[in-house]
Amino acid sequence: MIHTLIAKDIQLTLGDRQILSDTHIQCRTGSITGLLGRNGAGKTSLMRIMYGDLPCDSRSFTIDNIPFPHPYTQPDRIRYMPQFNFIPGSLTPERICLDFNLDFQELESSFPDFHSLGRQRIKYLSTGQRRLINIYVISRSRSQFVMLDEPFTLLSPIQIEKVRTMLEKEKQNKGILITDHLHQHIWDISDEVYTLADGRTRLTSRPVPHHDHRK
């Protein structure tokens, strides 16, 4: 079944500064939607407002035209991976997979980095491994939509390729909203891309590659 998420009319003011004023984002099952913007443009704030855990001046968030004032209470609808490690350090990869109803063997076969680390507390894993398990559990678990904030940061090029493959596969079952400073990966993986600047979102087409004609 195809689901549609629409976030619009989001307004956020911090002090005298209007962070978000005219935003519209649409995401569908089967597609990856990219969100690009400079540092401080409000990408994370926008995702947190969509998730419902950051108060704002006004907001409209619907899935299949049903409004959700507190989406974070419904993980079957939407899950959010923040840009930092959010998993308690005392938990092991096996336990984390159990909590998210996932099979640890699948994690191990997709990412051999986790071989024999099933019972290791994640605070003892490398930064990349911790990031990887954050991305894996959010994007693989059952949900209509997932939002990933900077998933590629802190990953090695090989890990990035594997995550991209996983997301391409996962989008068959869900809609994915993704933002990262590694723009090339966002352009490559996304079906449509929004840019956020001056508090406004715009649907943007891929920039034409620049050809150097100098001889």
Binding site: P75, Y80, P82, I87, L91, D99
Partner: protein, 103 residues
């Protein structure tokens, strides 16, 4: 989510401050053993105050981890009300036991 999974998550969260909280409870029980019912009001207020401090500390220093529980469908209010409720029940239980065992 299954009840067993919810309990498992609540216990994981409670582990963040169980040791500190249990030591406070034990201290209160030993003071109650020493001074008896006249000190009860002070002990209850002391326990509630330390619970408030715990809430503030965890909310500040473990705030990133709340996303883990939210992504699994557990609201912050449920986490706090259940775990602090359990902690307070343990405190009351231990004081009742101390009262009954005291010669």
């Amino acid at each position: 989510m299954k009840l067993s999974a919810i309990i498992r998550l609540l216990l994981t969260f409670y582990k963040n401050f169980f040791l500190f909280s249990f030591l406070i409870t034990l201290s209160c029980a030993s003071l109650y053993w020493e001074y008896g019912p006249p000190i009860l009001t002070v002990l209850v207020w002391f326990k509630l105050l330390t619970q408030g401090l715990t809430w503030n500390f965890i909310r500040t220093y473990k705030k990133k981890e709340f996303y883990y529980y939210r992504n699994l469908g557990l609201r912050d209010t449920i986490l706090w009300s259940v775990t602090l409720g359990m902690d307070l029940s343990l405190f009351i239980l231990l004081l009742i036991l101390t009262h009954q065992l005291h010669p």
